[in-house]
């Protein structure tokens, strides 16, 4: 019997973007307010999981053609690269740098290498969660 999940699918289409927006917000706010790469990553993947629930694995992989294992590797590389970058400026490993800039639209903001590191964390968390859920889901 084929069930009709039109309500679920429609609400998912709306809610997915809200979740993603919220997760991006949480990610960027991390340095000043509760949040950060870890929770941000988990929220993003929860959005994708919602997609998985509403549609099926195949559809989602055509919608988001992402290899999550590669994502984990990229995340780790970014994190390690950020940490290692400080060596080139003759400061100890894992020294972050930050500066305040006045950006168009956003106004005075600080740009911080810690955010890059957090991006690495974010990618790893999304990748890991999705890898686990996908491989369990694909298993017979």
């Amino acid at each position: 019997m084929k069930t009709n999940d039109v309500i679920l699918q429609t609400t998912t289409k709306v809610i997915f973007f809200i979740i993603i927006l919220f997760s991006i917000h949480i990610f960027f706010a991390g340095h000043y307010a509760p949040g950060g790469g870890f929770v941000g990553g988990l929220l993003t993947s929860s959005g994708i999981v919602l997609l998985l629930l509403a549609f099926d694995l195949k559809t989602v992989s055509t919608m988001l053609p992402i290899n999550y294992t590669v994502m984990v590797a990229i995340g780790l590389l970014i994190a390690l690269g950020t940490a290692a970058g400080s060596i080139f400026f003759n400061v100890p490993f894992f020294t972050h740098a930050f500066e305040y800039f006045t950006l168009p639209l956003l106004g005075k903001q600080s740009l911080h290498t810690a955010a890059l590191f957090d991006a690495g964390v974010y990618l790893v968390v999304v990748g890991v969660t999705m890898t686990i859920i996908q491989s369990i889901g694909e298993d017979e």
């Binding site: 950060g36 929770v39 984990v72 972050h96 810690a114 590191f117 491989s135």
Partner: protein, 807 residues
């Protein structure tokens, strides 16, 4: 010349032997090997004149200078005597082995490599002045003799004998190492000469007796003393040249060397004298008695070696008494060490010769069983002559060298009761009696060995081969040794001046400062009045009577019950250690994770709680507690209820849900205690893990899926209670004893100025302590890869598919 390098010549030669063996097939490898002991023997004889005047030759090279470990070759009378024995008899044995071992059928390269290794090891043992390098060479003798005994490794008995000798001698070697370490700590030096120099100080040290006993254990195991002699008869499975070399002339004498070398250090101790003399005599008696039980030629010789080694050992012990009597006192004890060395030389000659004879008989008739042999006198006349010379010397008859040393031995034992300390005046009376009885048995087995083999009726039906005289080359070595046996009888004082007195001066440095001072004269004739003469006559008469009636009383040995044997004890011990440890490990290695967890938790609980109370660290103070609010209390109640539900729920589903509720209430706690980041993460993670639990629950196998409440086990409950109590105690004590101030104020002060952030938690995670985070995400990555691996790469399944396809 640097004699320390000569020690290693045989070892270096051992490297080349396999190449020679492969490349030069026409010539027996032994001929090349023969050069080495002959050259070394020549080299060592050049030192004779130095040593005779009490000089010694020392050379060394550094091995580990920072730890003060070096190879030191110290050649005095004792080392030189042993070096000459090793190389001299080594040369004869190599010559003998050339004819004994077949070029085409035997793996000669193995044999000579092991033999040369052994020669290096023995030379190292007798020349080392450094305790650690002495131990190094000592173990090398154990290993190379293990290889030699197991030379015919396809035979069961060979492997058994090799293993047994290895176990026993390595046990002794390790004990000896302990003794050496104690000695070197006591004396703060590794050098034996320096230890001898400070021997009087060592004697008062509390470890003195310990080091003495440990060193003696090493010497006793190597020299096959009671009760460690059991490996030697089993080592007779080795090829006969090996038996002649290792088990008569060299390795078994390493223990005697050790005792002789350490006599100046330990002679002051009553323990040393009693142990060395007593065990020596016991071994002498035991070995000579049980030699008559043997029916194998080499078995007889093995027990005879054991007994003769006991004789020498007891003489060395008696020689140590001279430490207490002094040189002025014209007591016999200063002769004892002389007699010991003299008999050691004599034994090396006649026992080497006898072993080679046994090998010849085996080689030419195909059996060593004395019951099958007989009447070989006319078939093998030369062999018979040499065998008779050897045996008569062993029995202590004139005109052979054994007679002289046996006389000196009896003199030594007779005078022990005169010595009036350490209770020798009462118990010492036993010594000459045991010595005399043992000598009678020695006489009987010597006759038994030679006359049962060569006289009587020839039994060709029993023999695997047709008996005939040995080839000339095989007879050279025993003939040389037999000539020495006779020659030493006629010129004992020349041998004494050249070889024995320097060695005695090395053993008893507290008596003599140079070998020339030793005023001992060997004489074959003591006069009618001396008791030794009558004792010897008694030995001959009683021994002859016993030999005459041997067939009447030899069956008595069969009546000795089987359990009355040290081999039996050894076998049981080995068996017990194997089954015992197996039983022990299977007792606690149950294979159940549950038991291991119980061991671990019990250990943690006991260790932690007892430490807390022993160190008096338990302390409860309510000074720094915050007030408790109502909503905290409510969440705690929810949490406790959730936990109890997890434990008591009948269905697993209930447990999972209850676990989820526990997780969410923890998240609530984070909210209350101002940890928004933690609360967020905890909520999400709890959700994910509950989902995973449900997944696992759904896939449980249908078969055993009865819904059961967890069984109550008192032990588990106690351990769980203990762990809980431990954590509580530690937490309370830790909270009540805050010793250092928290560093969190630093983070509060610098989070904006230094790190440019506002969320302390996140700044700590990515900036202050970002290193941890880097590896935590690595952990996550690894976990995901692991899950991929487990789910996607199922080799066993693939294999099954392949197998089905093949069908």
């Amino acid at each position: 010349m640097s004699f320390v390098y000569f020690i290693f010549i045989p070892m270096i030669a051992a490297l080349l032997i396999p190449f020679l063996y492969k490349k030069v097939c026409g010539i027996h490898t032994g001929w090349f090997v023969l050069v080495i002991p002959v050259v070394l023997f020549g080299l060592y004889t050049t030192l004779l004149s130095n040593v005779q005047h009490g000089e010694s030759v020392t050379s060394s090279f550094e091995w580990i200078p920072s730890l003060n470990i070096s190879f030191v070759s110290y050649i005095d009378g004792l080392s030189l005597l042993f070096s000459l024995l090793i190389t001299g008899i080594g040369a004869l044995v190599v010559l003998y082995s050339i004819y004994y071992l077949d070029k085409t059928r035997e793996q000669l390269h193995n044999f000579y490599v092991y033999l040369m290794l052994f020669m290096t090891a023995m030379l190292g043992v007798v020349q080392s002045d450094h305790l650690i390098s002495l131990y190094f060479f000592w173990e090398l003798t154990s290993i190379s003799s293990f290889l030699l005994i197991g030379y015919w490794y396809k035979r069961d008995r060979s492997r058994f004998g090799a293993l047994k000798s290895m176990m026993i001698t390595v046990f002794g070697g390790l004990m000896m190492l302990g003794g050496f370490v104690l000695l070197s700590i006591m004396g703060d030096t590794y050098s034996i000469r320096e230890l001898i120099a400070i021997a009087p100080e060592l004697a008062n040290h509390e470890w003195f007796v310990w080091s003495l006993i440990l060193v003696l254990l090493g010497a006793f195991t190597k020299s096959a003393q009671f009760p460690f002699y059991i490996w030697l008869p089993d080592a007779m499975e080795a090829p006969t040249p090996v038996s002649a070399y290792l088990h008569s002339a060299t390795m078994v004498k390493a223990g005697l060397y050790l005792v002789a070398r350490f006599t100046p250090i330990f002679a002051s101790s009553e323990w040393w004298i009693w142990l060395v003399t007593g065990i020596g005599l016991l071994t002498l008696f035991w070995g000579s008695f049980f030699a008559l039980k043997q029916t194998d030629l080499k078995g007889i010789l093995a027990f005879s070696t054991v007994s003769q080694l006991g004789l020498i050992m007891s003489l060395l012990g008696a020689g140590a008494i001279s430490f207490h009597t002094g040189i002025e006192d014209n007591s016999i004890f200063k002769y004892a060490a002389f007699a010991a060395i003299f008999h050691l030389v004599n034994h090396a000659t006649f026992k080497g010769c006898l072993f080679m004879i046994a090998g010849i008989i085996d080689h030419e008739t195909g059996t060593r069983d004395i019951r099958k042999l007989g009447g070989l006198m006319s078939i093998m006349p030369i062999t018979f002559t040499i065998a008779m010379i050897g045996s008569f010397s062993m029995a202590g008859l004139p005109p052979f060298n054994g007679f002289l040393s046996k006389e000196m031995f009896l003199t030594g034992m007779l005078s022990i009761p005169d010595f009036d300390f350490f209770a020798f005046d009462t118990w010492g009376i036993l010594f000459p009696i045991i010595a005399w009885i043992a000598s009678v048995f020695t006489f009987v087995y010597s006759f038994y060995f030679v006359f049962r083999t060569f006289t009587g009726t020839y039994k060709p039906d029993f023999l695997p081969k047709k008996a005939h005289e040995a080839p000339f080359g095989m007879l050279i070595s025993p003939a040389i040794l037999g000539l020495l046996v006779v020659a030493i009888f006629f010129i004992p004082n020349i041998i004494a001046d050249i070889l024995i007195k320097p060695a005695v001066a090395a053993i008893q440095p507290y008596l003599y400062s140079s070998p020339e001072e030793i005023d001992i004269h060997v004489s074959a004739w003591h006069g009618w009045a001396s008791p030794e003469l009558w004792m010897t006559i008694g030995i001959i008469v009683i021994g002859f009577l016993l030999y005459w009636t041997l067939s009447k009383w030899q069956p008595m040995f069969e009546k000795i019950p089987k359990w009355f044997s040290l081999n039996r004890i050894y076998d049981k011990l080995m068996d017990l250690s194997e089954t015992g440890t197996h039983r022990f490990s299977s007792l606690y290695m149950t294979g159940y994770m549950r038991s291991y967890l119980i061991y671990m938790f019990t250990a943690i609980v006991v260790l932690t709680i007892s430490t807390v109370f022993i160190k008096d660290a338990f302390d409860i103070s309510f000074a720094m507690l915050a007030p408790i609010h109502l909503y905290e209390l409510v969440i705690v109640l929810v949490l406790v209820a959730g936990t109890i539900t997890v434990l008591t729920a009948k269905s697993r589903l209930t447990s999972i849900i209850a676990l989820g509720s526990v997780g969410y209430s923890v998240a609530l706690f984070f909210v209350i205690f101002n940890a928004p980041d933690l609360a967020l993460t905890q909520l999400v993670i709890e959700t994910v893990s509950v989902a995973l639990f449900l997944l696992a629950f759904y896939h449980l196998p249908k078969l055993n899926r009865h819904e059961n409440r967890m069984k109550f086990r008192l032990g588990n409950a106690l351990v769980a209670f203990g762990v809980g109590a431990m954590v509580t105690i530690v937490a309370l004590s830790a909270h009540s004893n805050k010793l250092v101030r928290s560093i969190s104020s630093y983070y509060e002060d610098t989070v904006y100025s230094e790190a440019g952030g506002g969320n302390i938690v996140n700044v700590i995670l990515v900036d202050y302590r970002g290193f941890d985070t880097l590896f935590e995400i690595t952990v996550l990555a690894l976990a995901s890869l692991g899950i991929i691996g487990m789910i996607k790469l199922r080799l066993s399944k693939k294999k099954e598919v392949n197998r089905n396809e093949n069908k």
